[in-house]
């Protein structure tokens, strides 16, 4: 069996499972946010739900429109808060404790290897980087799990993606996944599990691995996953709140197909509007002037992302008439970036530093685009109108490319800004 099948079988109380099989499985962690949880709470109450199945395992993170951007979103957040208080939830975060959910849960050790996680948010697939099965669902699914602690799943077939060789300079997890989506398309892994493997994955930090699994859904996948290793174990040490369970794919595991990539061929990538599959090498996009740059989100708002941004921005200044918005993904990343002196670099460069929030990633607040404006963003979606007006454009890239583009006022390669 693959690692995915093993985790699903274990949670369904079965010896084995095969792709296509419908199972009912126990859920370790169920997540909701300020957009999806209010609907789940209404449905929970609507069928007469009184108590969540386990107050340690239902996690509510109002991160999308917070700090509340308007009255309606304040009403949604209030509903989440009242429910969290009523149910005495252990994991409810707001104010100075809240961060972008998919950065916050692993950081706090709420998700561990071997878990089965569902979240009413499509990027729940991020936690696959820890060797957990995690997948995005809807609010009704979340309501069902809050009551029963279980949910129905169709066991997905797995496609294996193997990355050979060494990463080129300025290339990170974001580029591997953009390159892959560019290759297989936005429905290239529809309904499937993507298992990421190979020496290049092994050499990625946890931050880089989260970026890869985060965007599995952008290829249509149900989940992304990586086998745990020493890097995973080290990350979990002193933070896992439950004992992790390490699973590995059997040597004879059956994959629907296997894709292989030579990392020597992968340069920093850019996904052009309006689909993540429209990828090109940054050096091949030509002269595209920009109005805004966003560095943050559950894809690239972690400390390693801010570190490389600071490296590019040091002694540089954001181009005239370009707004650079930097959003550390969690309060502890925020503090660490401050203590390491990155804020000084960012402020000198002319950046705005936002509190942790999803904010502009989904066109919520903190940097909405006007008609015709163009942004380079380290987020995961460049759909039409995603960050503002429907005639605005989003170009997806890694943090180094985003920072270099802010300095140049157009899409740029980091080498254009950082002299070796």
């Amino acid at each position: 069996m693959t690692i995915t099948e093993k985790i699903l079988a274990l949670h369904a109380g079965k010896k084995d499972v095969t792709p296509g099989e419908l199972i009912n499985a126990k859920v370790d962690i169920a997540l909701g946010n300020d957009i999806t949880a209010p609907i789940a709470i209404t449905e929970f109450r609507g069928v007469g739900g009184k108590k969540v199945f386990n107050r340690d395992r239902v996690v509510l993170v109002p991160d999308h429109f917070t700090p509340n951007k308007d009255i309606l979103s304040a009403i949604q957040s209030k509903a989440v808060r009242e429910f969290a208080v009523e149910q005495k939830l252990t994991h409810y975060y707001e104010g100075g404790d809240v961060g972008v959910e998919h950065a916050l849960l692993p950081e706090k050790g709420i998700v561990v290897s071997g878990d089965l996680v569902i979240g009413a948010d499509s990027h729940t697939c991020t936690y696959g980087a820890l060797g957990a099965f995690s997948t995005g669902v809807g609010s009704t699914d979340l309501a069902a799990v809050m009551i029963t602690g279980e949910l129905w799943f169709k066991v997905p077939p797995t496609i294996k993606f193997v990355y050979y060789g060494k990463l080129n300079k300025w290339v990170g997890g974001k580029d591997l996944i953009l390159y892959t989506i560019g290759d297989i398309g936005v429905d290239g892994a529809l309904y499937k599990a993507m298992e990421f493997a190979g020496e290049a994955i092994g050499r990625l930090s946890m931050d880089g691995r989260f970026s890869v699994c985060n965007m599995a859904v952008e290829a249509g996948a149900k989940s992304g996953i990586m086998e745990p290793d020493e890097v995973t174990r080290k990350y979990l040490r002193n933070r896992a709140e439950r004992p992790p369970r390490f699973h590995f794919s059997d040597p004879g595991a059956i994959y629907e197909s296997t894709m292989e990539y030579d990392c020597a061929k992968i340069e920093p990538q850019v996904a052009l509007p309006h689909l993540p599959e429209n990828t090109k090498n940054v050096t091949d996009v030509g002269n595209i002037p920009i109005d805004q740059v966003v560095i943050g989100s559950c894809t690239n708002g972690r400390i390693e992302d801010l570190k490389v941004s600071a490296k590019v921005l040091r002694k540089n200044r954001v181009a005239k008439n370009v707004r650079l918005i930097i959003i550390p993904a969690t309060p502890s990343i925020y503090r660490e970036a401050m203590e390491r002196g990155y804020f000084d670099v960012f402020l000198k460069a002319g950046a705005v530093i936002s509190p942790p929030t999803c904010g502009p990633c989904l066109g919520g607040h903190m940097g909405i685009l006007a008609p015709g404006e163009r942004a380079v963003s380290t987020t995961n979606r460049n759909f039409m109108g995603r960050m503002g007006d429907s005639t605005s454009e989003v170009y997806l890239a890694n943090p180094a490319v985003a920072a270099a583009s802010a300095v140049k006022g157009r899409l740029a390669h980091p080498d254009e800004v950082v002299k070796p």
């Binding site: 419908l22 949604q76 529809l190 989904l362």
Partner: protein
């Protein structure tokens, strides 16, 4: 929910994402009337004003890709759309639709041979789609037994309630 429907077709292309079905700027509410008013706003600004109860959406591949927001199938349902037929659906949208009782069918051939404004007869129970305008009949991909059960129960929450799990 009714298993048989007849309606007029609205046709859309491939990879219609959840931001186009209902943009995030309207996600600060879950009020059905409000969500219906903005359904497909960035794709076809006139859609919400013109769509009639019982109409059918026909679309290309990967319909509903992107966010997990249930507001997407919900806004379609609230706009009065009876059924969505596509070449394929993104998986969370697929799941959400069954969980909330919005009938959806996958049928690439029917999509290719159907134009905007055609009249379709759809029988959800056996997946038979008849294009009345063009006088052609198609069969959609079969729906797994369990999902039919969900639909018969009236969605996931009612299914749970029926099984006494609350």
């Amino acid at each position: 929910m009714p298993m048989k429907m007849r309606g007029t077709v609205w046709k859309f292309g491939s990879d219609i994402d959840t931001d186009r079905i209902i943009p995030a700027r309207h996600l600060n509410t879950s009020d059905p009337a409000e969500l219906a008013r903005h359904c497909m706003e960035d794709e076809d600004p006139g859609f919400a004003g013109k769509v009639k109860p019982g109409d059918i959406i026909v679309a290309g591949k990967n319909f509903g890709c992107g966010s997990s927001r249930e507001h997407a199938p919900f806004s379609i349902k609230a706009a009065g759309v009876a059924c969505v037929i596509a070449k394929s659906f993104a998986r969370i949208f697929f799941r959400n639709s069954f969980n909330m009782g919005l009938p959806i069918l996958e049928c690439p051939d029917a999509v290719d041979s159907t134009s905007a404004g055609d009249t379709l007869d759809v029988d959800f129970s056996n997946g038979i789609i008849k294009n009345v305008t063009k006088n052609k009949v198609f069969k959609a991909n079969p729906i797994p037994q369990f999902m039919q059960e969900l639909v018969r129960a009236g969605g996931l929450m009612k299914w749970i309630k029926k099984r006494g799990m609350v």
